[in-house]
Amino acid sequence: MQTKKQIVVKACVIMVLTLMIAVPALAADKVLMMATTTSTDNTGLLDYLAPYFTKATGIELKWTSVGTGKALKMGENCDVDVLLVHAPSAEKVFVEKGFGVNRREIMYNDFVIIGPESDPAGIKGKNVVDALGAVRAKGAVFASRGDNSGTHKKELSLWKATGAAVPEKESWYVQTGQGMLATINIAAERNGYTMTDRGTYIKYADTMKGNPPLKVLVEQDEILLNQYSVLAINPQRCPKARFDLATAFSDWMAGAEAQGLIRDFKLLGKPLFVPNAK
Protein backbone atom coordinates (compact mmCIF):
# COMPACT_ATOMS: atom_id res chain seq x y z
CA MET A 1 0.00 0.00 0.00
CA GLN A 2 1.23 3.45 -0.86
CA THR A 3 1.65 5.93 1.88
CA LYS A 4 0.50 9.50 1.41
CA LYS A 5 4.11 10.57 1.19
CA GLN A 6 4.88 8.21 -1.67
CA ILE A 7 1.91 9.50 -3.62
CA VAL A 8 3.06 13.10 -3.21
CA VAL A 9 6.58 12.17 -4.32
CA LYS A 10 5.30 10.35 -7.39
CA ALA A 11 3.00 13.23 -8.33
CA CYS A 12 5.90 15.64 -8.03
CA VAL A 13 8.19 13.52 -10.20
CA ILE A 14 5.49 13.12 -12.87
CA MET A 15 4.77 16.86 -12.87
CA VAL A 16 8.42 17.76 -13.36
CA LEU A 17 8.94 15.19 -16.12
CA THR A 18 5.84 16.26 -18.05
CA LEU A 19 6.91 19.87 -18.00
CA MET A 20 10.45 19.07 -19.07
CA ILE A 21 9.26 17.09 -22.08
CA ALA A 22 6.02 18.74 -23.14
CA VAL A 23 7.21 21.95 -24.70
CA PRO A 24 5.81 23.24 -27.96
CA ALA A 25 8.92 23.08 -30.10
CA LEU A 26 8.26 25.00 -33.29
CA ALA A 27 11.39 23.84 -35.01
CA ALA A 28 11.69 25.75 -38.25
CA ASP A 29 15.13 26.03 -39.83
CA LYS A 30 14.37 29.48 -41.19
CA VAL A 31 14.09 31.72 -38.14
CA LEU A 32 14.12 35.49 -38.43
CA MET A 33 14.99 37.41 -35.28
CA MET A 34 13.52 40.88 -35.04
CA ALA A 35 13.81 43.67 -32.52
CA THR A 36 10.78 45.93 -32.46
CA THR A 37 9.12 48.54 -30.32
CA THR A 38 6.61 47.88 -27.58
CA SER A 39 3.82 49.55 -29.56
CA THR A 40 3.74 46.92 -32.31
CA ASP A 41 3.65 44.12 -29.74
CA ASN A 42 1.34 45.68 -27.16
CA THR A 43 -1.33 46.45 -29.75
CA GLY A 44 -1.29 42.81 -30.92
CA LEU A 45 -0.29 43.75 -34.47
CA LEU A 46 2.61 41.29 -34.61
CA ASP A 47 0.61 38.41 -33.15
CA TYR A 48 -1.85 39.11 -35.95
CA LEU A 49 0.68 39.42 -38.80
CA ALA A 50 3.21 36.70 -37.88
CA PRO A 51 1.10 33.64 -38.87
CA TYR A 52 0.38 35.16 -42.31
CA PHE A 53 4.07 35.85 -42.80
CA THR A 54 5.04 32.29 -41.87
CA LYS A 55 2.38 30.92 -44.18
CA ALA A 56 3.53 33.02 -47.12
CA THR A 57 7.28 32.51 -46.75
CA GLY A 58 7.88 29.50 -44.48
CA ILE A 59 9.95 31.70 -42.17
CA GLU A 60 9.35 31.69 -38.44
CA LEU A 61 9.30 35.20 -37.00
CA LYS A 62 10.70 35.67 -33.49
CA TRP A 63 10.66 39.10 -31.97
CA THR A 64 11.68 40.90 -28.84
CA SER A 65 9.84 44.12 -28.11
CA VAL A 66 11.88 46.84 -26.45
CA GLY A 67 12.21 50.61 -26.61
CA THR A 68 13.45 51.97 -29.94
CA GLY A 69 16.78 52.98 -28.40
CA LYS A 70 17.42 49.44 -27.20
CA ALA A 71 16.19 47.91 -30.47
CA LEU A 72 18.70 50.01 -32.41
CA LYS A 73 21.44 49.01 -29.96
CA MET A 74 20.61 45.34 -30.44
CA GLY A 75 20.88 45.87 -34.20
CA GLU A 76 24.22 47.59 -33.74
CA ASN A 77 25.43 44.59 -31.71
CA CYS A 78 24.37 42.14 -34.46
CA ASP A 79 21.97 40.42 -32.07
CA VAL A 80 19.00 40.54 -34.44
CA ASP A 81 18.45 40.27 -38.20
CA VAL A 82 15.87 42.96 -38.77
CA LEU A 83 14.28 45.96 -37.04
CA LEU A 84 10.75 47.35 -37.10
CA VAL A 85 10.98 50.73 -35.38
CA HIS A 86 9.58 54.24 -35.39
CA ALA A 87 12.21 56.93 -34.95
CA PRO A 88 13.04 58.18 -38.47
CA SER A 89 15.89 60.52 -37.54
CA ALA A 90 17.62 57.92 -35.33
CA GLU A 91 17.09 55.32 -38.08
CA LYS A 92 18.78 57.57 -40.64
CA VAL A 93 21.80 57.95 -38.36
CA PHE A 94 21.78 54.16 -37.91
CA VAL A 95 21.96 53.66 -41.68
CA GLU A 96 24.60 56.39 -42.11
CA LYS A 97 26.84 54.68 -39.59
CA GLY A 98 26.62 51.49 -41.64
CA PHE A 99 24.72 49.46 -39.02
CA GLY A 100 21.59 48.99 -41.11
CA VAL A 101 20.62 48.88 -44.77
CA ASN A 102 17.49 49.10 -46.94
CA ARG A 103 15.37 51.29 -44.66
CA ARG A 104 11.82 50.97 -45.93
CA GLU A 105 8.77 52.84 -44.73
CA ILE A 106 5.88 50.50 -44.03
CA MET A 107 3.09 52.24 -42.17
CA TYR A 108 2.26 55.06 -39.78
CA ASN A 109 0.00 55.81 -36.90
CA ASP A 110 -0.33 59.06 -35.05
CA PHE A 111 0.21 60.63 -31.68
CA VAL A 112 -2.28 62.73 -29.77
CA ILE A 113 -1.92 65.12 -26.85
CA ILE A 114 -4.36 64.28 -24.09
CA GLY A 115 -5.33 66.09 -20.95
CA PRO A 116 -8.13 66.63 -18.43
CA GLU A 117 -11.50 67.77 -19.72
CA SER A 118 -11.20 70.99 -17.69
CA ASP A 119 -8.11 71.77 -19.84
CA PRO A 120 -6.39 74.23 -17.44
CA ALA A 121 -3.94 75.48 -20.09
CA GLY A 122 -6.65 75.82 -22.75
CA ILE A 123 -4.95 73.80 -25.48
CA LYS A 124 -8.00 72.16 -27.05
CA GLY A 125 -8.06 72.45 -30.83
CA LYS A 126 -4.73 74.29 -31.03
CA ASN A 127 -1.82 73.09 -33.13
CA VAL A 128 1.04 71.32 -31.37
CA VAL A 129 3.41 74.27 -31.14
CA ASP A 130 0.77 76.61 -29.67
CA ALA A 131 -0.55 73.93 -27.33
CA LEU A 132 2.84 73.12 -25.82
CA GLY A 133 3.57 76.84 -25.57
CA ALA A 134 0.37 77.26 -23.56
CA VAL A 135 1.27 74.33 -21.27
CA ARG A 136 4.67 75.88 -20.63
CA ALA A 137 3.26 79.38 -20.04
CA LYS A 138 0.73 78.02 -17.59
CA GLY A 139 3.17 75.60 -15.92
CA ALA A 140 0.56 72.84 -16.16
CA VAL A 141 1.62 69.30 -15.29
CA PHE A 142 2.95 67.43 -18.32
CA ALA A 143 3.96 63.77 -17.98
CA SER A 144 6.80 62.59 -20.20
CA ARG A 145 7.97 59.01 -20.81
CA GLY A 146 11.56 60.08 -20.16
CA ASP A 147 12.85 56.67 -21.25
CA ASN A 148 14.49 57.39 -24.61
CA SER A 149 11.80 55.36 -26.38
CA GLY A 150 10.51 56.29 -29.83
CA THR A 151 7.55 57.99 -28.19
CA HIS A 152 9.82 59.96 -25.87
CA LYS A 153 12.00 61.02 -28.79
CA LYS A 154 8.91 62.20 -30.62
CA GLU A 155 7.80 64.25 -27.64
CA LEU A 156 11.22 65.86 -27.34
CA SER A 157 11.07 66.82 -31.03
CA LEU A 158 7.73 68.53 -30.38
CA TRP A 159 9.21 70.63 -27.58
CA LYS A 160 12.09 71.57 -29.86
CA ALA A 161 9.57 72.58 -32.53
CA THR A 162 8.22 75.21 -30.13
CA GLY A 163 11.57 76.96 -30.44
CA ALA A 164 12.43 76.80 -26.74
CA ALA A 165 14.45 74.28 -24.73
CA VAL A 166 12.95 71.03 -23.46
CA PRO A 167 11.56 71.83 -19.95
CA GLU A 168 13.90 69.19 -18.52
CA LYS A 169 14.11 70.56 -14.99
CA GLU A 170 10.79 72.32 -14.54
CA SER A 171 8.81 71.05 -11.59
CA TRP A 172 5.66 70.66 -13.70
CA TYR A 173 7.47 68.42 -16.21
CA VAL A 174 7.20 64.89 -14.82
CA GLN A 175 9.52 62.29 -16.35
CA THR A 176 8.09 58.91 -15.44
CA GLY A 177 10.66 56.57 -16.97
CA GLN A 178 7.85 54.07 -17.49
CA GLY A 179 5.69 52.66 -20.25
CA MET A 180 2.98 54.60 -22.06
CA LEU A 181 0.06 53.27 -20.06
CA ALA A 182 1.77 53.91 -16.73
CA THR A 183 2.60 57.42 -17.93
CA ILE A 184 -1.03 58.10 -18.88
CA ASN A 185 -2.12 56.91 -15.46
CA ILE A 186 0.37 59.23 -13.78
CA ALA A 187 -0.84 62.15 -15.91
CA ALA A 188 -4.42 61.31 -14.92
CA GLU A 189 -3.54 61.14 -11.21
CA ARG A 190 -1.84 64.54 -11.42
CA ASN A 191 -4.61 66.03 -13.60
CA GLY A 192 -2.03 66.81 -16.25
CA TYR A 193 -1.28 66.46 -19.94
CA THR A 194 0.74 63.90 -21.84
CA MET A 195 1.46 62.78 -25.39
CA THR A 196 0.59 59.22 -26.37
CA ASP A 197 0.26 57.06 -29.43
CA ARG A 198 -3.34 56.61 -30.46
CA GLY A 199 -3.34 52.83 -30.01
CA THR A 200 -2.47 53.00 -26.33
CA TYR A 201 -5.05 55.74 -25.86
CA ILE A 202 -7.80 53.62 -27.48
CA LYS A 203 -6.96 50.77 -25.10
CA TYR A 204 -6.82 53.15 -22.14
CA ALA A 205 -10.20 54.66 -23.02
CA ASP A 206 -11.62 51.16 -23.30
CA THR A 207 -10.42 50.10 -19.85
CA MET A 208 -12.08 53.24 -18.48
CA LYS A 209 -15.40 52.03 -19.91
CA GLY A 210 -15.26 54.67 -22.67
CA ASN A 211 -15.22 57.58 -20.23
CA PRO A 212 -11.54 58.28 -19.47
CA PRO A 213 -10.56 61.25 -17.30
CA LEU A 214 -8.11 62.35 -20.00
CA LYS A 215 -9.45 63.33 -23.42
CA VAL A 216 -7.82 63.90 -26.81
CA LEU A 217 -7.21 67.65 -27.03
CA VAL A 218 -4.72 68.01 -29.87
CA GLU A 219 -4.62 65.76 -32.94
CA GLN A 220 -4.31 65.69 -36.74
CA ASP A 221 -1.25 67.91 -36.81
CA GLU A 222 1.20 66.68 -39.43
CA ILE A 223 4.02 66.80 -36.91
CA LEU A 224 2.21 64.10 -34.90
CA LEU A 225 2.56 61.39 -37.55
CA ASN A 226 4.56 58.38 -36.45
CA GLN A 227 6.35 56.55 -39.23
CA TYR A 228 7.29 52.86 -38.84
CA SER A 229 10.07 51.42 -40.97
CA VAL A 230 11.79 48.09 -41.49
CA LEU A 231 15.59 48.04 -41.56
CA ALA A 232 17.79 45.06 -42.38
CA ILE A 233 20.99 44.68 -40.40
CA ASN A 234 24.06 45.31 -42.55
CA PRO A 235 25.33 41.81 -43.53
CA GLN A 236 28.82 43.13 -44.23
CA ARG A 237 29.14 44.24 -40.63
CA CYS A 238 27.28 41.30 -39.10
CA PRO A 239 28.07 38.18 -41.14
CA LYS A 240 25.77 36.04 -39.02
CA ALA A 241 22.71 38.20 -39.60
CA ARG A 242 20.18 36.51 -41.89
CA PHE A 243 20.05 39.17 -44.58
CA ASP A 244 18.08 36.94 -46.97
CA LEU A 245 15.32 36.40 -44.41
CA ALA A 246 15.33 40.08 -43.42
CA THR A 247 14.86 41.04 -47.07
CA ALA A 248 12.03 38.54 -47.42
CA PHE A 249 10.33 40.12 -44.40
CA SER A 250 10.83 43.64 -45.72
CA ASP A 251 9.43 42.67 -49.14
CA TRP A 252 6.46 40.93 -47.56
CA MET A 253 5.65 43.85 -45.26
CA ALA A 254 5.72 46.26 -48.19
CA GLY A 255 3.71 43.91 -50.42
CA ALA A 256 0.00 43.97 -51.12
CA GLU A 257 -0.95 41.19 -48.69
CA ALA A 258 0.63 42.69 -45.58
CA GLN A 259 -0.39 46.23 -46.46
CA GLY A 260 -3.99 45.04 -46.74
CA LEU A 261 -3.73 43.17 -43.43
CA ILE A 262 -2.35 46.27 -41.71
CA ARG A 263 -5.22 48.35 -43.11
CA ASP A 264 -7.74 45.84 -41.76
CA PHE A 265 -6.16 45.59 -38.32
CA LYS A 266 -8.46 47.12 -35.75
CA LEU A 267 -8.15 47.65 -32.03
CA LEU A 268 -11.50 47.67 -30.28
CA GLY A 269 -13.16 48.43 -33.61
CA LYS A 270 -10.88 51.34 -34.46
CA PRO A 271 -8.19 51.25 -37.16
CA LEU A 272 -4.73 51.85 -35.79
CA PHE A 273 -2.13 51.88 -38.54
CA VAL A 274 -2.20 53.35 -42.03
CA PRO A 275 -0.05 51.37 -44.53
CA ASN A 276 2.12 53.60 -46.71
CA ALA A 277 4.85 51.45 -48.27
CA LYS A 278 6.00 52.72 -51.64
Binding site: A22, P24, M33, K62, W63, N77, L181
Partner: protein
Protein backbone atom coordinates in the same frame (compact mmCIF):
# COMPACT_ATOMS: atom_id res chain seq x y z
CA UNK B 1 -9.86 47.01 -8.01
CA UNK B 2 -12.24 44.61 -9.76
CA UNK B 3 -9.42 43.31 -11.94
CA UNK B 4 -7.98 41.48 -8.94
CA UNK B 5 -11.03 39.29 -8.67
CA UNK B 6 -11.22 38.94 -12.46
CA UNK B 7 -7.58 37.90 -12.37
CA UNK B 8 -8.32 35.17 -9.86
CA UNK B 9 -10.99 33.67 -12.13
CA UNK B 10 -8.74 34.00 -15.15
CA UNK B 11 -5.87 32.25 -13.36
CA UNK B 12 -8.02 29.16 -12.98
CA UNK B 13 -8.93 29.30 -16.68
CA UNK B 14 -5.31 29.73 -17.74
CA UNK B 15 -4.07 26.82 -15.66
CA UNK B 16 -6.82 24.30 -16.20
CA UNK B 17 -8.17 25.44 -19.56
CA UNK B 18 -4.96 24.20 -21.21
CA UNK B 19 -3.87 27.64 -22.40
CA UNK B 20 -0.80 26.92 -24.59
CA UNK B 21 0.90 30.27 -24.01
CA UNK B 22 0.61 30.02 -20.23
CA UNK B 23 1.99 26.50 -20.13
CA UNK B 24 4.80 27.50 -22.46
CA UNK B 25 5.69 30.29 -20.02
CA UNK B 26 5.41 27.89 -17.08
CA UNK B 27 7.76 25.45 -18.83
CA UNK B 28 10.22 28.26 -19.67
CA UNK B 29 10.20 29.42 -16.05
CA UNK B 30 10.74 25.92 -14.70
CA UNK B 31 13.46 25.05 -17.20
CA UNK B 32 15.55 28.16 -16.68
CA UNK B 33 15.11 28.10 -12.91
CA UNK B 34 15.91 24.35 -12.66
CA UNK B 35 19.07 24.87 -14.70
CA UNK B 36 20.22 27.80 -12.62
CA UNK B 37 19.34 26.09 -9.33
CA UNK B 38 21.28 22.95 -10.31
CA UNK B 39 24.31 25.05 -11.20
CA UNK B 40 24.16 27.35 -8.18
CA UNK B 41 23.64 24.50 -5.69
CA UNK B 42 26.47 22.42 -7.20
CA UNK B 43 28.84 25.36 -6.98
CA UNK B 44 27.38 27.14 -4.00
CA UNK B 45 27.05 24.44 -1.34
CA UNK B 46 30.74 23.39 -1.40
CA UNK B 47 31.82 27.04 -1.51
CA UNK B 48 29.48 27.94 1.32
CA UNK B 49 30.72 24.99 3.35
CA UNK B 50 34.35 25.97 2.83
CA UNK B 51 33.54 29.56 3.75
CA UNK B 52 31.72 28.55 6.92
CA UNK B 53 33.81 25.59 8.06
CA UNK B 54 37.43 26.45 7.49
CA UNK B 55 39.50 29.33 8.67
CA UNK B 56 41.73 30.90 6.08
CA UNK B 57 43.35 34.29 5.51
CA UNK B 58 41.06 37.01 4.12
CA UNK B 59 38.00 34.99 5.15
CA UNK B 60 36.24 38.07 6.47
CA UNK B 61 36.88 39.97 3.24
CA UNK B 62 35.55 37.10 1.12
CA UNK B 63 32.48 36.95 3.32
CA UNK B 64 31.99 40.67 2.87
CA UNK B 65 32.11 40.27 -0.91
CA UNK B 66 29.60 37.42 -0.89
CA UNK B 67 27.24 39.35 1.36
CA UNK B 68 27.49 42.39 -0.90
CA UNK B 69 26.70 40.21 -3.92
CA UNK B 70 23.38 39.42 -2.25
CA UNK B 71 22.32 42.89 -3.29
CA UNK B 72 23.13 42.49 -7.01
CA UNK B 73 20.23 44.05 -8.94
CA UNK B 74 18.75 41.69 -11.52
CA UNK B 75 18.69 44.25 -14.34
CA UNK B 76 22.38 44.85 -13.73
CA UNK B 77 23.16 41.12 -13.94
CA UNK B 78 21.03 40.98 -17.09
CA UNK B 79 22.98 43.82 -18.64
CA UNK B 80 26.38 42.32 -17.81
CA UNK B 81 25.41 38.86 -19.09
CA UNK B 82 23.99 40.48 -22.22
CA UNK B 83 27.28 42.31 -22.80
CA UNK B 84 29.16 39.00 -22.68
CA UNK B 85 26.84 36.88 -24.81
CA UNK B 86 25.80 39.53 -27.33
CA UNK B 87 26.98 38.62 -30.83
CA UNK B 88 29.68 41.25 -30.57
CA UNK B 89 30.58 40.24 -27.02
CA UNK B 90 33.41 37.87 -26.03
CA UNK B 91 31.09 34.84 -25.84
CA UNK B 92 28.93 35.83 -28.81
CA UNK B 93 29.97 32.78 -30.81
CA UNK B 94 28.13 30.46 -28.45
CA UNK B 95 24.72 31.78 -29.51
CA UNK B 96 23.35 32.07 -25.97
CA UNK B 97 21.44 35.31 -26.43
CA UNK B 98 17.64 34.89 -26.47
CA UNK B 99 17.89 31.33 -25.08
CA UNK B 100 16.79 29.75 -21.81
CA UNK B 101 20.41 28.72 -21.24
CA UNK B 102 21.39 32.39 -21.32
CA UNK B 103 18.71 33.19 -18.75
CA UNK B 104 19.89 30.29 -16.58
CA UNK B 105 23.46 31.65 -16.62
CA UNK B 106 22.27 35.03 -15.38
CA UNK B 107 20.05 33.46 -12.75
CA UNK B 108 22.98 31.35 -11.53
CA UNK B 109 24.89 34.56 -10.87
CA UNK B 110 21.85 35.80 -8.96
CA UNK B 111 21.39 32.62 -6.90
CA UNK B 112 25.01 31.75 -6.17
CA UNK B 113 25.65 34.42 -3.50
CA UNK B 114 22.41 33.46 -1.74
CA UNK B 115 23.36 29.79 -1.60
CA UNK B 116 26.95 30.51 -0.53
CA UNK B 117 26.07 33.08 2.12
CA UNK B 118 23.19 31.16 3.69
CA UNK B 119 24.91 27.76 3.70
CA UNK B 120 28.02 29.36 5.18
CA UNK B 121 25.85 30.83 7.93
CA UNK B 122 24.24 27.44 8.52
CA UNK B 123 27.66 25.81 8.86
CA UNK B 124 28.91 28.55 11.18
CA UNK B 125 25.94 28.20 13.50
CA UNK B 126 26.42 24.43 13.72
CA UNK B 127 27.05 23.16 17.21
CA UNK B 128 30.80 23.53 17.81
CA UNK B 129 30.81 20.63 20.23
CA UNK B 130 29.82 18.28 17.42
CA UNK B 131 33.31 18.38 16.02
CA UNK B 132 34.91 17.49 19.36
CA UNK B 133 32.36 14.75 19.88
CA UNK B 134 32.93 13.19 16.46
CA UNK B 135 36.70 13.27 16.86
CA UNK B 136 36.43 11.67 20.28
CA UNK B 137 34.30 8.94 18.69
CA UNK B 138 37.17 8.23 16.32
CA UNK B 139 35.82 9.81 13.16
CA UNK B 140 38.37 10.36 10.43
CA UNK B 141 38.58 13.58 8.45
CA UNK B 142 36.22 12.44 5.69
CA UNK B 143 33.60 11.17 8.11
CA UNK B 144 33.88 14.41 10.02
CA UNK B 145 33.13 16.45 6.91
CA UNK B 146 30.24 14.27 5.82
CA UNK B 147 28.55 14.24 9.20
CA UNK B 148 28.93 18.01 9.48
CA UNK B 149 27.36 18.40 6.06
CA UNK B 150 24.50 16.11 7.06
CA UNK B 151 24.02 18.10 10.23
CA UNK B 152 23.44 21.38 8.32
CA UNK B 153 21.08 19.92 5.71
CA UNK B 154 18.09 21.96 6.87
CA UNK B 155 20.03 25.19 6.68
CA UNK B 156 21.20 24.29 3.18
CA UNK B 157 17.64 23.44 2.17
CA UNK B 158 16.52 26.84 3.41
CA UNK B 159 19.34 28.43 1.40
CA UNK B 160 18.17 26.60 -1.71
CA UNK B 161 14.55 27.60 -1.23
CA UNK B 162 15.46 31.25 -0.70
CA UNK B 163 17.58 31.23 -3.84
CA UNK B 164 14.78 29.51 -5.74
CA UNK B 165 12.39 32.24 -4.69
CA UNK B 166 14.67 34.91 -6.09
CA UNK B 167 15.30 33.02 -9.33
CA UNK B 168 11.63 32.26 -10.00
CA UNK B 169 10.52 35.83 -9.46
CA UNK B 170 13.26 37.83 -11.15
CA UNK B 171 12.29 39.71 -14.29
CA UNK B 172 15.35 41.81 -15.19
CA UNK B 173 17.55 38.95 -16.37
CA UNK B 174 14.82 37.11 -18.26
CA UNK B 175 13.80 40.29 -20.04
CA UNK B 176 17.28 41.47 -21.00
CA UNK B 177 18.90 38.14 -21.86
CA UNK B 178 15.85 36.16 -22.96
CA UNK B 179 14.08 38.93 -24.82
CA UNK B 180 10.56 37.78 -23.83
CA UNK B 181 10.13 35.86 -27.10
CA UNK B 182 6.75 34.19 -27.39
CA UNK B 183 6.88 30.36 -27.27
CA UNK B 184 10.61 30.46 -26.57
CA UNK B 185 11.90 32.63 -23.77
CA UNK B 186 8.72 34.15 -22.42
CA UNK B 187 8.71 33.30 -18.73
CA UNK B 188 5.85 33.99 -16.37
CA UNK B 189 7.44 37.13 -14.99
CA UNK B 190 8.19 38.65 -18.40
CA UNK B 191 4.66 37.72 -19.49
CA UNK B 192 3.33 39.64 -16.47
CA UNK B 193 5.42 42.65 -17.48
CA UNK B 194 4.08 42.43 -21.04
CA UNK B 195 0.44 42.05 -20.04
CA UNK B 196 0.75 44.96 -17.62
CA UNK B 197 2.26 47.08 -20.40
CA UNK B 198 -0.70 46.15 -22.58
CA UNK B 199 -3.09 47.26 -19.86
CA UNK B 200 -4.35 43.70 -19.35
CA UNK B 201 -4.13 43.96 -15.58
CA UNK B 202 -6.39 40.97 -14.91
CA UNK B 203 -4.20 38.69 -17.02
CA UNK B 204 -1.16 40.02 -15.18
CA UNK B 205 -2.72 39.18 -11.83
CA UNK B 206 -3.71 35.76 -13.16
CA UNK B 207 -0.16 34.99 -14.23
CA UNK B 208 1.12 36.15 -10.85
CA UNK B 209 -1.21 33.68 -9.16
CA UNK B 210 0.03 30.95 -11.52
CA UNK B 211 3.57 31.71 -10.39
CA UNK B 212 2.56 31.48 -6.74
CA UNK B 213 0.82 28.16 -7.46
CA UNK B 214 4.03 26.77 -8.93
CA UNK B 215 6.04 27.98 -5.95
CA UNK B 216 3.52 26.23 -3.72
CA UNK B 217 3.91 23.02 -5.75
CA UNK B 218 7.68 23.16 -5.47
CA UNK B 219 7.50 23.72 -1.72
CA UNK B 220 5.09 20.82 -1.29
CA UNK B 221 7.49 18.64 -3.24
CA UNK B 222 10.40 19.65 -1.05
CA UNK B 223 8.56 19.58 2.25
CA UNK B 224 9.12 15.83 2.66
CA UNK B 225 12.82 16.58 2.85
CA UNK B 226 12.18 18.63 5.95
CA UNK B 227 10.72 16.11 8.33
CA UNK B 228 11.73 12.57 8.92
Amino acid sequence: MDFIFAGFIEAIHLLFGGDGQTWSAVAATLKSSSGSMAASLTLGIPLGFVLGYFDFPAKRQVRLLVDTALALPTVFIGLVVYAFISNRGPLGEMGLLFTLTGIAIGQTILALPVVVALSATAVESMDRHLRTLLISLGANRRQLLLSSLWEVRYGVLAAGLTAYGRVMTEVGISMMVGGNIKWHTRTITTAIALETGKGMFATGIALGLVLIAIAFGVNVCLSFLRKK
